[in-house]
Symmetry: C2
DNA sequence: TGCGTGCGCTAAAGCGCTTGAGTGGAAAGA
DNA sequence: TCTTTCCACTCAAGCGCTTTAGCGCACGCA
């Protein structure tokens, strides 16, 4: 019979001090591994704290200048893009793994757009809520680095290119250009000359990087007919663009999609038009996930370890919070996993 | 040239008090809409606060007993299940929508299992981090309600059945049993008599509800041959179970999957075995998402509005935080969207 | 013996906010 | 006119923790 119990009271340092027979300051010193108490007292205090199940009140800590022990993460994407994207949950789970070890909280927020995202940062900063933030989806002309700089909020940009204009920000990035080059290599070797790149949101920095890389690689090899079409990452646009380019007079023989969702939708659209994959057209997805092995044919994909990506980002942020210098770290270039959706171009 | 600026200082109530020529208490009264100041002073204080860009420090608020202005959300699922599930992001985005309006933060954590989840709650409680939590994936013999009760942490259980043993917890749930009944109705009308249910994790409460409902409905109609097989929700198990049941001597004519991912994998597995959908076997997914329209044939699915589900849950939690009574609210029964993966059973 | 030194500890202030107990003055009642 | 009441506002304590200053003590040294 669960009568309405009063909520248990949280033990405070005062309780510990009383039971250990020392002052609160001594307790503070002891528990924070600061000099000022003897080892024997330290041990005793530690034991009492443990026994009482004491945990520091983040509120009190934050108030006395120690920071909020929390980092922020804002996802600013149109709501309908949120659905079937495996990347973010994986990323977040990697982030958590690192943060949890240090008992750092993750304050999460989804916002409709970057402007709102900035407002969130301002609010978090003003409210003392976070000690640092993880920024995703960096853009061309991104207002966020300037803002974070202005607020003095430690931050690591995930997926941005190195940015020497903001020496205070760490960056964790994958070399999209290198991956694109390798991809074009592989497709070229299979005989593909007409490649269309169904890209993601136009103002995302990595979209631009990929588009430029494709153009550069094509130029280097004398491939005239490459094209990048930007989309909103949705299955609907992926399918629509696929239909459009395949119905052109000289359809491409290879399609590169900036995410798995569009690639899957694209394959379906291609089949609908009578194109068989990979006989008539090869398909590569930029993000590997279970999805790529859930359709027939299995999709060839550029695979990277998103969980590890998250771990790396979180590690950089903790380093920053510890007072370390901002760094730019590159994670491994995505690897092309060749499955059944890519093949040699059909001989004429 | 971004020289290292000192981080801007946050204005405090003291600053406001000085500029408005009143005491800090007056400022507090004014800004919190408490009696004790005249309307004219209140206005002046408000203006100054606005002008200074003041925001209350959550740390200080929390410390003086006001709560942390944050709610917690733990996702305890094995890491590999995290990938392609549209449900949670949608749910979270609905939750956010409501929380953001009240400037409540969402502390998010992924944990490996329920035990760790409990540890997280304890820590959050001890550290004064959250005012309440949203609990997902309620289980049979769930330790969490007892714990939350013990801690006196307001909570709403998402997807649980009404639970009269924990009058302090709110519950937001969908009537799985009703949906299952409607589904069996529909399949029965199409002539299906042998139905296999590829269910989710065995100890999830809604898994059990669905299994029981299926059995009850089958019993009511004299369908002898129904079966539920529990899985881990992964595409791999979905495919494996599909193969196993279709290779049995008298294979089912309809398959009901507890999520979209398994359904898609199941269709692929069925095709691999030479079963065509829906001619040889009908397929229904319990969760609707873009995924269901990305495969051929398009999957019939039980659809519900997960974003709205999130909104409802968050609304209940805020009500609880406002001191309201715990409630049990039912969201609309999932609707069956009939697409191309269900059809009449083939005549012998 | 006296003095400086360092160690182990305590006292107290302060972080930014809330809140209950005053306080002074004007308006209302006797 | 004096008291009462009420209102607008101030004071000060307190939330749980960190941190600086300082205190007493034993020790080493001259």
């Amino acid at each position: 019979m669960a009568a309405k119990r009063p909520a248990a009271r949280r033990p405070t340092m005062k309780d510990i001090a009383r039971r250990a027979g020392v002052s609160e300051s001594a307790v503070s010193f002891a528990l924070n591994d600061r000099p000022g108490v003897s080892e024997i007292t330290r041990d005793r205090v530690r034991r009492v704290a443990e026994q009482l199940g004491w945990r520091p009140s983040t509120a009190a800590r934050a108030l006395s200048g120690e920071g909020a022990a929390t980092v922020g993460f804002v996802l600013a994407r149109p709501a309908h893009t949120l659905g079937v994207d495996s990347f973010f949950l994986q990323l977040v789970s990697g982030i958590q793994e690192v943060l949890a070890r240090r008992h750092l909280g993750l304050l999460f927020q989804v916002a409709p757009d970057v402007e709102d995202e900035c407002a969130v940062y301002r609010r978090w900063w003003a409210e003392h809520r976070v000690d640092g933030v993880l920024v995703v989806d960096p853009r061309t002309d991104d207002p966020r680095p300037d803002l974070l700089d202005e607020l003095g909020l430690p931050a690591v940009v995930i997926g941005g290119a190195p940015d020497e204009r903001h020496p205070g920000l760490s960056t964790v990035w994958a070399d999209d250009a290198g991956a694109m080059a390798a991809l074009v290599d592989a497709l070229h070797a299979l005989g593909h000359r007409r490649i269309v790149h169904i890209a993601g949101l136009p103002d995302l920095a990595h979209t631009e990087r990929r588009i430029r890389a494709l153009r550069a690689e094509a130029g280097r090899r004398g491939l005239g007919e490459v094209e990048s079409v930007t989309t909103d990452y949705s299955d609907a646009e992926g399918a629509a663009v696929t239909r459009r380019v395949l119905e052109a007079p000289a359809p491409p023989t290879a399609l590169v999609y900036d995410n798995d969702v569009m690639a899957v939708a694209g394959v379906a659209a291609a089949s609908g038009l009578g194109f068989s994959v990979p006989a008539d057209v090869s398909v590569v997805a930029w993000e590997d996930s279970a999805l790529c092995r859930m359709v027939k044919p299995w999709l060839s994909a550029l695979s990277r370890d998103s969980v590890e990506f998250g771990r790396t980002a979180a590690t950089e942020l903790t380093a920053l919070l510890d007072g370390g210098p901002a760094r730019t770290v590159r994670v491994p270039v995505p690897r092309l996993i060749e499955r059944d959706s890519t093949g040699p171009v059909r001989p004429l």
